[in-house]
Amino acid sequence: MTMTDTGPTSPAPSTMDNGSTVVLRSVSKWYGNVVAVNDITMSLGPGVTGLLGPNGAGKTTVLHMMAGFLAPSKGELTVLGQPAWRNPSIYSGLGIISERESVHGFLTGWEFVLASAKLHRLKDPEAAARRAIELVEMSDAQNRKLSTYSKGMRQRTRVAAALVHDPLVLLLDEPFNGMDPRQRMHMMSLLHTMGAQGRTVLFSSHILEEVEQVSGTVQVIVAGRLAASGDYRTIRRLMTNRPHVFTIRSSDDRRLAVALIGDPSVAGVEIDPTAGLTLKARDYGSFTRALPKIARAQGIRIQQLLPTDESLESVFSYLVAS
């Protein structure tokens, strides 16, 4: 389904840099002595972009600054060619779904989306609300109160309210939280469609696989800094080709250590009589292909193979370092 032109006129795209709809130039945000966002420069254009980073990295702060909810302490931030801060007119072309899923529970889904359409001063708010609710497949439950909805239903209704005015830019903070797999697939397809229609869609996530499935472009934020930016596959390669640490238990740890140290994919091995082998691999792919061959050739049985540093934090730390 496509959105129609019930929305108000959006700000003129001619004022934007090279087709970029959201532009951050050296943007920082600090609270007292705590720096939440540190000197971020990025520009977003049409299509879906993932804002990836561990919890507490500054994703929400960046999104809130883009949404005009927070003032940058330093730097310049524009949405659709206009400053986002203290400028309510940007919301004619901007839709926001914050992570905090607070809604007026006494309203029905229909009333909630219709109120959003009316507050956007659309010409035909009923028609716009109906279309938005159909888009998120919530028509059947639209007359129930929001307080009776599941988390996923509430999330979809919030998406409908954010899309009701057909915005050019859509910002979503952790939109897949609380959704079941089917709802997740539906939301992913919706974001794809929005991006394909030429809208700028930015969504934040701390889960790599979510970003992988939805967006071709990612902005990675770690500890308030922009750690990586660009094509998802390039960044994924950077992430998977980094050194990995494994612990291995086998039928003969010492003999396996000797055999493994000779392989070019292995950077180092330590033997611990109680914990087994701790092995540092140069890259994930080569090592995981080499290990079974070496073990079979030596007649050694692998009893346990555990990656030890697969937390997102360690992945992101590596990205920052590189």
Binding site: G58, L63, G95, I96, S98, E99, S102, H104, L119
Partner: protein, 237 residues
């Protein structure tokens, strides 16, 4: 005035248990007045403790405090304010719509029982004076308490301090505090209309009217400016 915002604000307000508890005040006020009259007391006897101390000094400001901080403060607390802020609406429209609801609800909730209490006191002019006084107080208190909900995370506490310490305690001890006391403006307006002997005033009518205007307009303008620069803080950074 934005009807959509006003309707949602009113529904949210009436859905809160805290607000429904406030309806006990009018019942209490009218009940005591009826009891006092049935026992043969004159309004000059029961008026000061019932109408002034309970009605004007407690019921009016406390209802205004709960309603005035509730229309915006509750949405700030639970995060629903973000839905309204993310709309292309002048911030003045949001503030004025919420203020309209706060003033109307407070004026009706306190003005009607004060009017009835005035009638129980046997004087239509007293009833009208109290009603007009309640409307004046509702305007000034609502603007002030709504501003507080944008300035601090504990607006009810600070509002109570204003009512109990500034207006009631210091108001009795230091006459100079009267000029910044909304309660005194209410008393002056009610007294000038009703000419009731038990209503004692400390500020002149021009001062009461001018200060009500300054409180209402000043607090509203400040609230609009604060809302323009309102920061929505996420659960995570």
């Amino acid at each position: 005035m934005n009807l959509t915002i006003a309707r949602i604000t009113a529904r949210a307000l009436f859905g809160r248990r805290r607000f429904l508890m406030l309806l006990l005040f009018p019942v209490l006020l009218i009940g005591i007045a009826v009891l006092a009259r049935s026992l043969g007391a004159t309004v000059d006897n029961w008026g000061p403790p019932v109408i002034v101390a309970l009605g004007i000094a407690i019921m009016l400001p406390v209802v205004a405090l709960i309603v005035g901080t509730g229309v915006l403060g509750s949405e700030i607390d639970d995060g629903t304010i973000a839905h309204i802020l993310a709309k292309p609406l002048p911030r003045s429209e949001i503030i004025l719509s919420k203020l309209y609801v706060a003033i109307t609800v407070t004026a009706v909730t306190t003005g009607v029982p004060l009017f009835i209490t005035g009638l129980i006191g046997g004087s239509t002019s007293l009833a009208v004076g109290l009603l007009v006084g309640a409307v004046v107080g509702s305007i000034a208190y609502s603007a002030l308490f709504m501003l507080l909900s944008l300035l601090t995370r504990v607006p009810v506490l600070i509002g109570l301090a204003y009512i109990l310490i500034w207006e009631s305690l210091l108001g009795r001890l230091l006459s100079g505090t009267s000029v910044l006391s909304i309660q005194q403006y209410v008393l002056t307006v009610a007294e000038r209309i009703s000419h009731s002997d038990f209503l004692t005033t400390r500020v002149s009518l021009p001062v009461a009217v001018a200060m009500t205007f300054i409180f209402a307009v000043g607090a509203t303008l400040l609230a609009i400016d604060r809302l323009r620069s309102f920061s929505v803080v996420g659960e995570t950074t």
